[in-house]
Symmetry: C2
Subunit: 319 residues, 2 copies
Amino acid sequence: MNEVKKIVVTGGAGFIGSNLVDALLVQGHEVHVIDNFSTGRREFLNSGAELHEVDLCDESVDLTSVFQGSQEVYHLAANADVRFGMTDTRRDINQNVIATLRVAQACATAGVEDVIFSSTGAVYGDSVEHPTPETAQFPIQTSLYGMSKTAAEGILSTFAANEIFRVSAFRFVSVLGHRYMHGHAIDFVRQLHQDPEALTVLGDGTQRKSYMDVSDCIRALLTLRGKETFEVFNLGASDYCTVRDSVAWITEAMGVEPKVSYGEEKRGWVGDNPFTWLDVSKAAEHGWAAGKSIPDSVKGTVAWLLENTWALGIQDLRK
Amino acid sequence: MNEVKKIVVTGGAGFIGSNLVDALLVQGHEVHVIDNFSTGRREFLNSGAELHEVDLCDESVDLTSVFQGSQEVYHLAANADVRFGMTDTRRDINQNVIATLRVAQACATAGVEDVIFSSTGAVYGDSVEHPTPETAQFPIQTSLYGMSKTAAEGILSTFAANEIFRVSAFRFVSVLGHRYMHGHAIDFVRQLHQDPEALTVLGDGTQRKSYMDVSDCIRALLTLRGKETFEVFNLGASDYCTVRDSVAWITEAMGVEPKVSYGEEKRGWVGDNPFTWLDVSKAAEHGWAAGKSIPDSVKGTVAWLLENTWALGIQDLRK
């Protein structure tokens, strides 16, 4: 039996956060969740966790008491959608930059030792190196989302440089699987659930993307640590697929044969990266590798969505 | 004679901004200055410019009217001090991130074509590559200042990726010269002006730093442009000196022989980079090189400070 710890998970009612909370509770820890349910779901929140229903950006709330006595904090609360950054330009700064600063300060005051952070492969902008390593060249940001996650990493690495706490930052590819609620797969399944005959795809379908199953992601968050005060790890499958591959797996899993309309652009939207593939050899050297293949993860995601069709009815609030 | 343009300079009463405004007025342009005099000086503001006394972070102010009809905007307003970030953790985010977003949005609404931005070599964190090129590896930030300028670049590059305006971002080393008001040289001159017998230096004096004269900086801001929608240029001298070299030049210029007390740390403060030296070959390929040597610039700075001893009496408000 491991030592029982008080562990705080921000965004603990979200897709990745709630899966993480479940895993931490199985390990016997005392788990506290901070969530404001802006995108998190009450259905996902494990009743074994203690909930603090708080908006991290609310300046009137002192977060320190929640973090007091906690050695580890998983900071997952964020705006997680790279699209729509330019229609609500303050969202990424508020939810990803200022929220991270407030969490960092509360962790500092409370004496937290380890902060585990969900970053993103979007920090690489339009990478010129594939697969992209953690030491890729200085990125040029193409989305406010990528900018904001880079800034959040920079806030945490500054606290780490000041030896206030250790940081493990994980740059994810898109995550699929159990409780998946936003991204291309749900968009496709939602469309096909309404009309099995037609599917409209943003971009020309040649976009190359790497994915990761949430089960692999949780295993990394729980186990991957380095020696430095600030460590960053890429996480993703060792390979990639095209959007056209994904369309084929999803339609096959759903047993439909729609007419697929592709766009003409190489990107799905401005700020979309036409090629996302991360070099995960650093994580591999530390003993981690994705266990689930991309097609298996896509098919598992479709199965979960078809068992939970209420999820298809949830309007995407981020638009 | 060049075409006369309406040009806006944010931070146009500051050290670099006011020198830039003078140069733009000499070229015959209609120059508008936005400054809130938090660190800018009324003494520096050219009376030929139109002043808009505005805090860029003030949400109640609509900035668009100032930018209307302007093709070029020089966005120089910022917190420019890398120290004290951890004592007032919101300053860098407010003055460098949110202010830049507000300027970018106002430029977008007003149809500005070119935004010229003062970034910093601090965006490279503790670089492992010397001299550090624009394509250096993904930096780990060690200061909230470096984080905030990286984020500001990311905001502007996102607008550029959306083809809203072109951006030329300049990553400076520390700038010296006419109207220099903060940094190591004024700290040293202030101390020696009070007591020519004693000088206390932060850090052990082995820190290696590259500098640039403000005259060279202004020439770069005015003339260096690239072909891409978002272009970044390092700016600095082609070489570097140690803090001990600088102490020698300053004491020589002042004709004093103090007892110098060095600290024991390799850095002057947490977040200080012990070695700052930028690769300026990209700027050189575009026809720019620093014209003034580091010792000449240091000596010129001392001469200006000794002619303007009122500057030594200005308390450093950033502490």
